[in-house]
């Protein structure tokens, strides 16, 4: 995993310091660790990091400061990925975050930090322009909207694969999670594409479209 340059925005000092410690120990550079959205904006403008870890609820109002800052950062600094995390998953926050596309964004439950290796992996994915969505975000979004006939036509296994794709995982990672071979995953992915009516073109593009259609975004 390449070393990342990271800015952390989290108002609870315990967590902020621990995150910085953990990410540094793993060979990354934490440029700044701040406690509110304004400080986050200026830290990003100053350091141009690869990725930021942003708590959604921060002072002064403890509502959605982090989310608003994240959307601004994605617009103003496309080279900086944003990984939001919070103690609850709010579907409307996820929708707002994904409205401008799923590249370079992530939204995880705070609990996921406890699995430091996976969390760092998700962060690296976002830094590289990928996506990292919490399984809970995927469940809520996919379950929220009306299901199209195409989605309904997927088998249970294809559903599972698509949900993991929506979380932002690569085929190799999906194979590992489902304990199947890479070839099997590729077969399922191809089946998903064809059932959703996405003929072979640029592969990653099809992936994004399939996921967004699944999430109803």
């Amino acid at each position: 995993m390449p070393a990342m340059r990271i800015v952390i925005a989290e108002d609870a000092a315990v967590l902020r310091e621990l995150l910085a410690q953990m990410l540094t120990e793993r060979g990354n550079e934490v440029c700044a660790a701040v406690a509110d959205a304004d400080a986050l904006r200026s830290a990003v403008a100053e350091h141009r990091p690869d990725v930021t870890v942003v708590d959604i609820r921060m002072p002064p109002t403890h509502s959605d400061e982090g989310l608003r800052a994240a959307i601004d950062i994605r617009r103003e600094h496309p080279g900086t990925g944003v990984l939001l995390f919070s103690q609850y998953i709010e579907t409307r926050f996820a929708t707002r975050l994904l409205a401008a596309g799923s590249a370079g964004v992530g939204y995880l439950l705070k609990d996921r930090v406890a699995n430091t290796a996976e969390f760092t992996e998700a962060l690296a994915r976002v830094a590289a322009g990928g996506t990292a969505l919490d399984p809970e975000v995927v469940t809520q979004l996919a379950g929220g909207g009306r299901r199209t006939a195409e989605i309904e036509s997927l088998t249970a296994r294809e559903h599972e694969v698509l949900a993991l794709m929506a979380e932002g995982r690569s085929n190799a990672a999906i194979a590992q999670t489902l304990v199947v071979s890479a070839g099997t995953v590729e077969k399922h992915v191809a089946a998903v594409f064809s059932k959703l009516g996405l003929p072979s073109s640029e592969d990653t593009n099809r992936r994004v479209i399939a996921v967004l259609r699944y999430l109803g975004a």
Partner: protein, 450 residues
Amino acid sequence: MGKALGWPGALHAALTAPFTRRAGAQAAYCLLGFPVAQVGFALVLTLLAVGVGLIASLVGAVLGLALAVLALGLSRALAALQRALAARLLGERVTAPAQPRPSGGFFARLDARLRDEVGWRAAAYQMVKLPVAVCQLYAVAWWLIGAFDLITPLRWAVVHQLVGTADGASMRTISPFPGGAGAPHASSFAGTFLTAGIGALTLLAAPWFTRGVVAADRWLLHALLGPGELAQRVRNLEETRALAVDDSAALLRRLERDLHDGAQVRLVALAMRLDMAREGLGPAGGPVTDPDKVRNLIETAHRNAGEVLSELRDLSRGIHPPVLDEGLPDALATLAARSSVPVELSVDLPQEESHRPTPAIETIAYFCAAELLANVIKHSGAGHAVLRAEQRDERLRLRVTDDGCGGAALGTGTGLSGLAQRVRTVDGSIRINSPAGGPTAVEIELPLHA
């Protein structure tokens, strides 16, 4: 008028009473109120009399009822004017009753208008007000009579200057009492000073007379032009219900916030440290890669767990202190024992279950006591406090006194306003006596049942 300052102060107050702004405003109220009262009495009485007459004759019953409704509407309008006068000149704020908005068909509306209790009370006020207004006018007359008599020596001098002295000519004194009883005639210049004396006394008495009749009117204003006891009670209940709902919503929000910023964050950090420690152990079966780091992480995680526990304990105690289940006396004793300022405790509460206040009341009493003692510690600088709790006449009385610096009042950031709100929701009351310089005494009275 300030407070009574012994007899020189009282004398001063008596001598200056006719010349105060308050006396002037009351006299103005009496003068302005009289024509309104006359018009009100005449119109309302006429409308009602004609209306009732028509109804009795059965022939224009509808017209009669309409006249009655008109009388009630007029009474309400006059009442609004009279309330405004009282507010402007007497500073007497009488809450306006709600305006009726009858709906439905013609007869339903007519029925609602005729059953308008506020309107009937306003009409009653118009009837009673006239004799009161006559008294008020008479009270104002005392000022004029007093002034007229007071300047009798001057009048004597002027009249005699103009007309010359005629033997046997005399100057009348106008008696402040009807019928001129005991009014002396002044037949000499020296005699006019007796008249002036009577005038001065009348003038000095006038403001007190005015005050008396105005007080009677105040009582009538509240009794007949206010919203009525039931409506007042409903309004009060609406207010306190809103307070109770807001209070519990705020409590839940604070609880969520405390959990979110406290225990949840600490638990995430704890889990993270354990994960980092596991990583430090290296692959299963192999040697421990970094034992020092692992020990360090586990020690911190262990401390973390202790912090979470104590935080959760504080939080749950804030929701419901378990000691309350043992009864209010034990809970108050615990509270007193935990206080950093020495607290003398005196509890006189019945032990029998049947006489105990309901749990909700006990909880409110407990949190009031906790808040008051916290105030003593935080704000008063007192070296000693007394917490007294007793139950008399179906009321629970809680009293916290301290020998601190005083100056406690509602809305000074001491949490007393919140306390007062919570107490009001169960029809309790709070009395604060805390002059600057101390000492402070706060007394809370609660019913036994919410």
